[in-house]
Symmetry: C2
Subunit: 407 residues, 2 copies
Amino acid sequence: MKVIDGGITAAKGFEAAGVEAGIKYQGRKDMALIYSRKPCRAAGVFTSNVVKAAPVLWDKEVVAHSPYAQAVVINAGIANACTGKQGYECCSKTAQAAAEHLQIPADSVLVASTGVIGMQLPQDKLNAGVKKLVEAKADTIEAGQIAAEAIMTTDTVFKQAAVTFEIGGKTVTLGGMCKGSGMIHPNMCTMLCFLTSDIAISKELMQEALSENVVDTFNMVSIDGDTSTNDTLVVLANGMAENPEITSKNEDYDKFVEALNYINTTLAKKMAGDGEGATALFETKVINAATKEDARRLSKSVICSSLTKAAIFGHDANCGRILCALGYSGVDFDPEKIELRLENKDKSILIYKDGVMTDYDEEEASQILASEEVRALVDMKMGTAQACAWGCDLTYDYVKINADYRS
Amino acid sequence: MKVIDGGITAAKGFEAAGVEAGIKYQGRKDMALIYSRKPCRAAGVFTSNVVKAAPVLWDKEVVAHSPYAQAVVINAGIANACTGKQGYECCSKTAQAAAEHLQIPADSVLVASTGVIGMQLPQDKLNAGVKKLVEAKADTIEAGQIAAEAIMTTDTVFKQAAVTFEIGGKTVTLGGMCKGSGMIHPNMCTMLCFLTSDIAISKELMQEALSENVVDTFNMVSIDGDTSTNDTLVVLANGMAENPEITSKNEDYDKFVEALNYINTTLAKKMAGDGEGATALFETKVINAATKEDARRLSKSVICSSLTKAAIFGHDANCGRILCALGYSGVDFDPEKIELRLENKDKSILIYKDGVMTDYDEEEASQILASEEVRALVDMKMGTAQACAWGCDLTYDYVKINADYRS
C-alpha cells in the first residue's frame, strides 16, 4: 500500500467540483459534486439518530435499492433535517436536476447536506448550483480539493486522503474526503465522508468491510458527544482498475480492508484534530482490556470527558479525571491495577501506577499536554484487548463557535 | 408541608460547624461537621463509578453495617480518590479523631471529601480541623449555613433547604445541604449531599424512599456528563420528633416521601443552576412519552447536549439541536409528531410543530433564552409518561474553571 496525494479524484474515472451557490454562506464555495464516468457499486453507513435528515433517508434508499450510484451532490450551510415532506422532496428534485445535467438516472444520485437544522433549502439555488457543478467538474487533484473545501462548515482545514495498492497485477486506488468539526459523535459513521475507488468488488463485501471498519475508526471519534442527524459515509466503486473482481474474503479482500482502514483512520484523526475550537488532537489508547468492546468503551469514555478535555486545553495533567472517566464508562475493572501514561511524539511519562499517582514532574507533563497530538495510554491489566479513540480539547473557541453558529 | 429557613441544623438535635483547616485552599473554611446529639439511622446512595473515592468505600460500610451513625466529617479541596490504601486509612483515622472528640464510636462517623483526584490528604491538618470543628459546633441556623459554605469547591453559592410536616400530631423537620458544580452527572446521587431529620422511621424504609427518589431528582441533573468518583447522598434520622415510628408504607410514609422529594428537587435544581460557569438553569420537561424511562432518557439527553448548552449561552434558539439530542437518546419515537416549546416564567412559544420548525419570532425566543431559568417543553405524543431533567448552559467560564482548576 502506498500513500498518494489527492482524495476523491485519485481513483480512475472520478470527477469532482465545488462551486459557490449562495445557499446560506456568502462569498465561499458551498456545493460539491462527485461524479463517476462509470456506474458504481455503493455501500453506506448512516446516523443512528432517530431524527434522520432528509438526505439520509434518500441515500439509504439509493444504497439499498438502486442498481448503482453514479453521483453525489453535497451542500453546506443547511442540514435539511427536521424539514418534513418538503425536505425529502428537495432531495428528490436535486437528484433529478443532477440526473438531467449528467444524463444518468435520478435514483443513481446521492445527496448530502450539512449545516443548520430546521431550515428548508432554497430549491432554485440548489438547481442553479447543480448546473454550475456539472459544468465545472474535472478529474484533477485540484478539483477533488475544491470539493473537499466546499463541504466545510466550521472545519478549519479540508480533509482528504488517498492510497494505491496492487490486486492481481492491477493498481487499485482508494481516496476520500470528509468534513466534520462540531456535532461529531458518530454512532454509525462521521458527519459527511465520501470514499471513491476504481476497485472491482461485490457490493455485499464492500458493505461488510465498511460496516465492520467504521466501528474502530469513525465510531471512535467524538468532539462533543452530539450524534448528528446527518452522519453519512458512502463508498463508491466503479471497477475501472480492472482487477479480478473481489467476490470472497481472500487475500485481495484483506488488501482492500487494509486500505480502507488506513483512509478511514486518517480521515477520522483529521476530523478529531480539527474539532471545533480545538488546539490538540487527543488520542486515548487502552491496552490489556478484558474484551475489545471494553477497550472501545473505556477509550471513548475518556476522550468524551469534558473535564479531561478542559484540562488538556489548560495543559494541566489533572489525570484523576481520566481515571474517573474510565470508572463511569460502564466497564468493570480493578482500579488498583491501572497504569496511565501521558505521551506525545517524543516523550512518555508514567502518571498513575497501580491506580495511585506517581511522583511525576508536573512541568514535563504540562509540556506533553502542550503538544499538537496528545496521547493517554491506559494499561488496564485485565486481558489482552486494545482500542483507540480520538477527540480534542475543550476550549473557549468551542463555546464561542457554538454560541454564535447560527447567527 | 411548610418550607422553612435553614438546612442541616433545622431538625431537632442536629449541630454543625465549618472551620478553616488549610487542607488545600488557603484563607477560607474547608472542613465541616454534622453531629446529632442522638444516634441516627442512616441511609445512603453512592456513586456508580467503578473508581470510588476512599470516603465512599468507608461510608458504604458504615451505612450497611454500623448499628447507627452520629456524625459526618467533610473536607473540600482534595477528593481522596485514587489514593489506594493510604486514602482508606485516612478515612479511618479521621473517623477515629472525630470519635474521640465527640465520645462516640468511630464506626458511627461518616466522612466525605471533594476536590482534586489523586492527591493524599494531610492527616495532621485533618485531625486539627476535626478538633476545631467539635469545639465550634452549634445547633443554630447560622452554624448549618457555615457548614454549607465550608464544603463548597467551585460552587458560587451555598445550597440548603428545609421543610416541616406533621406526623401523628408531631412536627417533623427535614433539612439538607449539598455542594456540586463540576464533575456533576450523578448516577446514584449528587456529588455531596447531606440530609438530616428528626423523624422516626425504619432504616429499611428510609433507604427505600431515598433510593427511589434520587432517580427522579439528583440523577436527573447533569452539568458536564462526568460522573464523579465521590458522589454521596446520606440521610440521617435521629427520631427526636417523637412521631409514631414509620414502619410501613402508610400515609405517614407518603408525607416523608413528599418532603424528601421537595428537598431533593430543590437542592438538585440549585446545583444545576450553579453549574460551573453557568448563566442559566436549563430545565427540560418531556411529556407524553411512551414510558417513564423513555421520558427520563429523552429529557436527560437534551440537558447533556453540549451544542444545546452552548446555544442557550448564546441566546440562540437553535432548537434543531434539541431534536437532534432527543434523536440520539436511544429512545424510539416518531420525529414527525414532536412539539417543542421554549419557556420562561412569563412566556411560552412554540418552536417545532409536527417535527417541523414554526415561524416563531427569533427575538422573542432569544429573550426567553436570556432568562435565569430556561425551559424546553417537549411533547412526544407517544404516550402519557413524563420526566424533568436539569442542567445549565455551557460557557467560556466552564472552560476557564476547568482548564485552571488544579493550579
